[in-house]
Assembly symmetry: C2
Homo-oligomer: 620 residues x 2
């Protein structure tokens, strides 16, 4: 079982995390290759044993550490080849960032590799609509601009290498500098344990585990496209929109109704608004204490009965929701992964807060929240219930575009293709414009955060010190009747030091929530290019229908079906957009109120402090 490995890159162990520091060129002995999560256990020449990231080493007897893949796409090759399915973008993890080192990620069979040349727009998920206005669905995501340098980049979506020289670490360059949330390591935090290992063959997840080791994109930013790029969208990989447009199958499971509401087509909303609380993070450990993790309590408002979930369970849920609903509903990414300092209080608090935000958003969605997999996650009865439900969810076949087969517009007339296309274009324009607006606000907010936590309080502190210094000098005058002035000046100086402190702490009280909400929206908006892309691709298909009928590839009845289904897809999209708008109006009202309220308090408090300082000076 023991085999030797060469260390490819230096790795510095994180203290207290059972890791082993290794040096490039060192030979180590693998003592346990089945740790999972991108780690192996190894022993060095000094006999020290610890965990090492598996892509930092090259095992002498090559053994593929992970395998997986999806079924090959159906043969629907009579459609234009210029409309690739999203699956063809998998394995971009082979195209590496600017890191000087080359990773040892195994190439999984069943996926074609996208070369950067095909994706001239870099990884801007919106580029497809800008450059290909007639529709189409190009491999624009996660493509890697060559020669990107670590550090500042002008492209918000550019890759950056993280710390430790890990080849796959990603850090959004426009992260606002919240303490403690910097990706310092490329290693995976929520590795698989035994229970999950046997699931690896069920989808692309195991593959993505290896491929995404340490990927970090914060607050769901750029999330969806990344995830898809890294093959976390097996539903997509099995199908283009044609699968649904021409499917003969009857849908199994619940129907998803779209009604005509006041604002247009709307989802069927439940009477009771589901919500949940994510709370009480607890540290657990496994592998005889070798690795530890955090478990959160999730308490649905329906049952009020807490269930325990680790981050990886949330990630599993995310994968299932993305599989199932991603073509119709933007499923925002989870908050990001991080290894270093992941047990630090601040980080745990922040992750919990973001998981809470993500869960609440999912709870608020009538389609997502009523789904079987979501209900399972929120209220499984016991381990057995959970395991059974999990296996069932992973076998769900109504995924990818097939979700549209469950959608039923109630009392809504079929839309013609022109109208369908107009709606789609409108949503595309709006979400792109909002994406720009949100990113702009995030950039400005980030600058403001930096100023408020950096130079500004320093300046107030210096003002405070200058007053106090002068006051100290005054006390040495030996002049009588100096006391009142020096006391007052010292107090004024201290007041400015207090203001410095307030200024530095204020962003956590207001800007933080503004940033978090906009980060959430940035993540959400990052999913729209994919979702809208599916619709645009479908519209293109329907446009080709006449040609296909003439060529005898499909029947006239097929063509009619395709039109009807495009109409159904459009209703779904409209319902989703209306849901989005409704939430957006609520969220922005709430966050602006919260922000301004805190700002008012902040300035009032400063005024009050200064008023007190003022009162100590005397007029003569």
């Amino acid at each position: 079982m023991e085999s030797k490995a060469q260390v490819l890159y230096d790795f510095a162990a994180e203290p207290g995390n059972n890791e082993l520091s290794v040096r490039e060129g060192e030979t180590i002995t693998i003592t346990n290759q089945n740790i999972g999560g991108g780690w192996i256990e190894a022993r060095n020449s000094r006999g020290e044993v610890g965990l090492v990231p598996e892509d930092y080493i090259e095992i002498n007897q090559a053994q593929p550490l992970t395998s997986g893949g999806n079924a090959a796409p159906l043969d629907l090759s009579f459609f234009d080849s210029h409309v690739p399915t999203p699956a063809s973008t998998a394995q971009v993890d082979v195209a590496q960032p600017e890191s000087p080192v080359t990773p040892v990620t195994p190439v999984t069979p069943g996926f074609t590799s996208t070369s950067p040349d095909e994706t001239s727009n870099g990884n801007d998920p919106w580029a497809v609509f800008d450059n290909n206005a007639s529709g189409g669905f190009s491999n624009n995501w996660a493509a890697q601009p060559e020669g990107t340098e670590t550090g500042k980049t002008s492209n918000n979506n550019a890759w950056q290498s993280g710390g430790h020289g890990h080849p796959q670490a990603y850090q959004g360059p426009d992260i606002y500098p919240y303490p403690c949330l910097i990706d310092l390591s490329g290693a995976e935090d929520d590795e698989w344990d035994e229970e999950w290992d046997d699931m690896k063959s069920s989808g692309g997840y195991a593959e993505s585990e290896a491929g995404e080791g340490g990927a970090m994109n914060r607050g769901g930013a750029h999330g969806s496209s990344m995830k898809i790029a890294l093959n976390k969208f097996p539903g997509f990989s099995k199908s283009g929109p044609e699968l649904y447009l021409l499917s003969k199958q009857q849908t199994k499971g619940n129907k998803l109704s779209v009604y005509s509401g006041e604002v247009g087509p709307v989802w069927a909303y439940p009477d009771y608004q589901l919500d949940c609380v994510v709370a009480d993070p607890k540290k657990g450990s496994k592998m005889y204490g070798l690795k530890s993790y955090i478990e959160y309590q999730v308490i649905p408002t329906t049952t009020n009965k807490p269930v325990n979930h680790r981050y990886k369970h949330f990630d599993w849920l995310y994968e299932r929701l993305l599989d199932k609903f991603g073509s119709a509903i933007p499923i925002p990414c989870l908050p990001d992964k991080q290894v270093t300092g992941r047990f630090e209080e601040e980080f745990i608090k922040m992750r919990m807060e973001r998981l809470q935000g993500w869960m609440s958003r999912m709870c608020r969605h009538p389609v997502v929240s009523s789904s079987e997999v979501f209900q399972l996650f929120l209220s499984y009865k016991d381990e057995k219930d959970w395991k059974t439900g999990k296996r069932k969810a992973e076998k769900d076949e109504t995924v990818g575009v097939m979700i549209f087969s469950t959608i039923e517009p109630e009392g809504l007339p079929d839309m013609d293709l022109i109208e369908v296309e107009q709606k789609c274009e409108q949503f595309s324009r709006f979400t792109k414009a909002m994406d720009d607006g949100v990113k702009d606000l995030l950039t400005v907010g980030n600058e403001h955060w930096k100023r408020c936590t950096g130079p500004l309080p320093k300046e107030y502190q210096r003002i405070g010190k200058a007053f106090q210094n002068l006051s100290s000098v005054f006390t040495t005058s030996g002049y009588e009747g100096e006391g009142t002035l020096t006391d007052a000046m010292t107090a004024a100086g201290k007041t400015y030091e207090e203001i410095a402190q307030m200024v530095a702490e204020q962003p956590k009280k207001d800007l933080h929530f503004l940033m978090e909400t906009n980060n959430e929206y940035k993540g959400l908006l990052g999913c729209f290019p994919d979702t809208i892309g599916v619709h645009k691709a479908a519209i293109e298909k329907v446009k080709e229908a006449d040609k296909l009928v003439t060529a005898g590839k499909i029947t006239a009845s097929d063509k009619t079906t395709m039109g009807k289904r495009a109409s159904t897809m459009s209703y779904a999209l409209q319902a989703e957009m209306n849901h989005f708008h409704n939430n957006r109006i609520y969220d922005y009202n709430r966050v602006m109120q919260q922000y301004l309220e805190q700002q008012v308090k902040f300035y009032e408090m400063i005024a009050e402090k200064l008023r007190q300082a003022h009162s100590q000076f005397t007029t003569m």
Copy 2:
């Protein structure tokens, strides 16, 4: 009369000021050499006539443009030669700043030149006390550190070349960036007119006119030492402290009493506190409109009858006060000269404000305000009265250290030399420490000013724009019920733009006064090294008395006289320090109150604006 001249440096004429642009190497014809104030009138090859700064040109038939000088010092050479008199520091205008060009300042006979090598402490007026603790009085002022570069320097007292490449332009590097008060020209603004030309022989003034052309040291900063260096202290130049210590003469004129007050020795304060208003600046012109100037009304609270004075009259007064009282009383410099933009409203307002500050400070001083020359300035009856008084003041012989001969400690016992020295050291330490404290506050305030008028409002503006942008995007959603949110977000955005404006304008409302007061004190404190230096030099002289008696140079009675006079000097210094402390406590109480009051208003106004913005958002 007409002669040719070579242009040495490029000079760009200020529009509307009758100036003539000239180029280096150009030959011009002098049409009027008697303009004064550092200007000549010239005609270029295209026949254009206008004014050119005289030290930008070299006149082919060399004619000294200015001359002057003081009587040689009395022969008191039996004193140690290591105690030079301040006069020996004159003509440092020969040692030029870092400017690449060399000026053509005539060397006036009667003055020795100080080489930079003798003044290792650069121009820090405090260096003498740091490096020469045993006393002594070295030529430390205005010495020119070699190789200083234009732009940022770490030495607050370093010279900097001004705009236009003028060799003598000086700009304090720690000026806070008040608009419109940047020295853009090296030319003198308040040139002499005919009335004043015949006064040139009466002192070092004409010399300093030429030597100081365009020198600019703002807000009185570094003022005194500069002025002395440039030989504006003829009282000093006529005497070391020995002149007084051994003088046999009876004082003419009023006695200046020092009493024992609650806080120690104090000046005799008048029952009525004099003050005046400087107001109503009016533009006048002379030389058939060739040159124009500003005349201010000065209205003393005693007579309430306005008198008119130009800046140069204030400057004349300053010179007289410095001559007369400078050894005993720090006489702060006038606000600085400036040519470019000197008729701009903002500049005139600022100069008036600073002249007001200077005059009020002089009015508040019991010795200065009751002096004949000051009373003349405030309340001359007519032109004749003014001219007569002026000539009389210029002939006053009780100047320099001889002022001490008018001082009479009333009911105060003679102090022994140890006590005298201790007091002197104490004042030296205090004023140096306060000078550091004030400069520190000015540096911090300057930084704060820059931030408040630069990046900070820009950031608030960007926040405002970002909110408004997002609001604009929202209006394109086509979703019903969007209006309230978009209106509220637009209003919030506008509020932040208003805040940006407020932030940018606030320093003028509060920081300005804090800076002005501290600038005034910086100027005042800059005079102490000279004033205290006179005392230290006197103490050294008295210490040498025994030796001199032994050597038969002075009598035992002379020695006793010297001790008594040192005691008198000390009482004068103590009275002055107590006056200083009293004023300081008043000034800092007042300015801190004013600053904090405005700051409170500022933050309250922001809070109020944000409260209004907040109220527009709705909770759902």
